[in-house]
Amino acid sequence: MTYEAQISRSSPTAFLFVVDQSGSMSDKMASGRSKAEFVADALNRTLMNLITRCTKSGGVRDYFDVGVLGYGGAGVANGFGGKLGVTVLNPVSVIEQMPLRVEDRQKKLDDGVGGILETTVKFPVWFEPKAYGGTPMRGALTRAAEELVLWCDAHPDCYPPTVLHVTDGESTDGDPEEIATHLRQIRTNDGEVLILNIHVSTLGAEPIRFPAEDNGLPDAYAKMLFRMSSPLPDHLVRFAQEKGHKVEGTARGFMFNAEAAELVDFFDIGTRAAQLR
């Protein structure tokens, strides 16, 4: 049986976000914000949620190692800055202590009597939006593979790492599929590395969410991303279904032409590793 290792401080798992920061990510969405800004917000929110899931009254428990790789005109780089930028994968307790800044943001709440209450909430920021240059996707996935080989060697019995890859365009540094195939062959005793791909678009085309086959995909690029995506383990299928998605048991971790707003949901599903202890 795979993808069943229970997650604890002595047996953590890893999440590696791989984020396209090419020039096209500066395209504006209907809200007036760029895709890069939306991805950064979604990623910061996901990091916050991961930390929150690990936080007990006694402190933050290191159930997860988390990293971000960005790729664009400057090549492939650690998405974290400051002290966090020294290594790609960091324990959540370290990430919790080192946001770039903590912003005060306004949040509207139902006041329970038909009105709206505005309140200030803390919003930590670790990852800044960037959008420039080409799309060295092959280089990014190669770097991800290098990191995850080391992680799996050090954690042979743990729930395997999950790669959450966000892109809006085609690779400009060669075929990424070959590297993705290698990446998926990296494994712990609990299973192969999971790769989940989300393609975000501002074109308003019909999104395709968690397909089980490539018949309905519009072009060769979409079919390639489909092939690069892992079949979802049973518990992620169930979780996606609970979130209202129509997902078959043989679905892959892939969304095409997704609206950027779906990123948070996608990240939430992708980071639901097996049971936390």
């Binding site: 604890s8 401080r9 899931r53 936080t55 007990k56 009254s57 903590v102 202890r277």
Partner: protein, 249 residues
């Protein structure tokens, strides 16, 4: 009603993680409560402790009862002084099961309230007489409804059939050697997947904490028991108690 055994084995036997199961017993008044605090919760051990203690003091669970428990939980935390991550985790809430038991001497019955998937089992000698809230181990794969420190998650408590759906009565009259076993989900799941003639004697034979630790570690290593906080309470009823009384349906 006499306590024969009470033991709890943490998920992490090296002791690095807090055991989030809590129980309270008032044998003189025939009450006990077992609560399993959810792992992904800010302070579920404290929440479980509040619920168990409160049930034993007052088993009339209601929305007002729960509001008082929520207030007790809130009073134990200083939100303003927390870091952003603790504030965010606190706002997600804490969650726990509640398995409440009340022995009614005059009726010779045991009333059970089960919110969540902690399991009560009435056995007679080495046979299972009745389980609550279910007897199908597959039900442990579902997401249980839990009591939360956040009122928005507790709407089910106001449902008109709350007690009908979550309460039951175990009748002791006529049983030869009744024992009540209360256990949290990992042990409950293991128990319901074993043959009763093996599992019942094995649990009834436990007499020390070390006995429970040995069983749990052995079954975990064999892959037959999930790694989770594991608690077992065993209560017996004298044959004169069991033979007495009128069955009440």
């Amino acid at each position: 009603m006499r306590q024969q055994f009470a033991g709890t084995c943490p998920k992490d036997t090296s002791g690095n993680d807090i055991n989030e199961d809590r129980f309270a017993v008032d044998a003189a008044n025939g009450r006990l409560a077992l609560c399993d605090g959810a792992s992904e919760s800010f302070d579920s051990a404290r929440w479980a402790d509040i619920l168990a203690t409160k049930y034993v003091a007052d088993p009339a669970v209601s929305t007002r009862w729960l509001a008082a428990a929520e207030a007790q939980y809130a009073a134990a935390h200083d939100f303003a002084s927390m870091t952003w991550s603790r504030q965010a985790a606190y706002e997600r809430g804490s969650f726990a099961t509640l398995l409440g038991v009340e022995y009614k001497v005059q009726h010779n019955t045991v009333e059970i309230l089960a919110v969540g998937d902690s399991l009560a089992v009435l056995v007679d000698t080495d046979k299972i007489n009745k389980c609550w809230p279910f007897d199908d181990p597959e039900r442990f794969r579902e997401h249980p409804t839990l009591l939360s420190t956040l009122p928005m998650h507790n709407a089910f408590l106001s449902e008109t059939d709350f007690w009908t759906k979550r309460g039951t009565t175990f009748h002791l009259t006529g049983l030869r050697k009744p024992n009540l076993l209360c256990m949290t989900d990992a042990l409950g799941d293991w128990f319901l997947r074993q043959a009763a003639e093996i599992a019942v004697p094995r649990l009834l034979a436990l007499s020390t904490q070390e006995d429970l630790d040995h069983l749990v570690v052995e079954e975990r290593e064999a892959g037959r028991m999930r790694i989770d906080d594991t608690t077992l309470l065993v209560f017996s009823f004298s044959t004169t108690e069991a033979a007495r009384g009128v069955s009440v349906s």
